[in-house]
């Protein structure tokens, strides 16, 4: 029987045409409720987007970069202070040595 239906006969073509006609007549565009359309638009425009994984990743990279930069700045600051202090120490030591030298030169030999 199935084999018979699969053969391209005039009757089978008629059935297909009838099906197409039935689909055309039965399937009509439906309109969504106006309240639903307005309500959904309102919800969409006021909805706060949750942070996506990508946003979280961006935030994490930014935070890590900020932390590393902060630590580097702090280390550089500390090193600068140490350098200034050590330079001052060297200068002060040099002055002291120079003063001692002068004092010893001025002091008469006993």
């Amino acid at each position: 029987m199935r084999k018979f239906f699969n053969q391209p006969t005039i009757d089978n073509d008629k059935v297909i045409n009838k099906l197409e006609l039935l689909f055309t007549k039965s399937f009509v565009q439906v309109t969504p409720r106006t309240e639903f359309v307005h309500e959904l638009k309102k919800r969409l425009t006021t909805y706060q987007l949750p942070e996506t994984r990508q946003d979280y990743l961006h935030w994490s990279v930014f935070a890590a970069a900020s932390l590393i930069s902060g630590i580097m700045l702090l280390v550089m600051g500390i090193r600068s202070v140490i350098m200034v202090l050590s330079t001052l120490g060297i200068i002060s030591h040099y002055r002291q040595t120079l003063q001692q030298k002068r004092t010893s030169e001025l002091t008469p030999l006993s």
């Binding site: 199935r2 239906f5 699969n6 089978n12 059935v15 297909i16 099906l19 197409e20 039935l22 689909f23 055309t24 007549k25 039965s26 399937f27 009509v28 565009q29 439906v30 309109t31 969504p32 409720r33 639903f36 359309v37 959904l40 638009k41 919800r43 969409l44 425009t45 909805y47 987007l49 949750p50 996506t52």
Partner: protein, 185 residues
């Protein structure tokens, strides 16, 4: 925004412009609702899934890449996936109450439908829901959205020839089923 082309509105929406997204929503909500309505057979589920489609679209629109396909193709793809999940998760296909849904609902609104008997329409919707998802998609786009094979191809990601062939095979399958249901000799 209302006068701009889809591409321009889409570009604005993908930069986070809510007004632009609202315009895209206005342009496509009817089509997406229709598609889901005919796939689920219920107003309540069609509204719920339509809302989900647009919320998902809004979340992912910044990542939207224009591949030369119409924007509707992207929305239909989201709708198609959500309807597939809906059927799979809840196994509701069997629960669709045809009396409560499409069959009798629009009789008053659309007098032309009255020409088709209630029984015939009921059988037709049973036939539609018995089809695999991609074939239901094709029939809905063809008869409800009245798209050409080329347009359906763009939406479904197939060539025009492939759509034509799938449509023919679908009609042959439907014919056999229709003959069985209506006891056509």
């Amino acid at each position: 925004v209302k006068e701009l082309s889809d591409e321009l509105v889409l570009a604005q929406a993908s930069r986070g412009d809510r007004e632009a997204f609202g315009e895209l929503y206005q342009r496509y909500v009817g089509r997406i609702y229709n598609y889901i309505y005919y796939r689920t057979g219920s107003v309540h589920d069609a509204e719920d899934l339509t809302a989900r489609v647009f919320f998902r679209a809004m979340r992912h629109i910044p990542n939207y890449k224009d591949r030369g396909l119409p924007f509707s193709a992207w929305l239909y793809r989201i709708a198609h996936n959500l309807v597939a999940n809906w059927h799979r998760d809840n196994n509701r296909r069997k629960e669709i109450s045809l009396d409560d849904s499409i069959i009798g609902k629009h009789e008053g609104d659309h007098p032309e439908q009255e020409l088709v008997s209630l029984e015939e329409r009921e059988n037709l919707f049973k036939l539609l829901h018995s089809l695999p998802a991609d074939r239901q998609h094709l029939i809905i786009l063809k008869f409800i959205e009245q798209m050409s094979n080329a347009e359906i191809g763009q939406v479904m990601g197939k060539t025009e020839g492939a759509v034509k062939s799938l449509y023919h095979r679908t009609l042959l399958a439907l014919r056999n089923e229709y003959q069985n249901i209506n006891h056509v000799p």
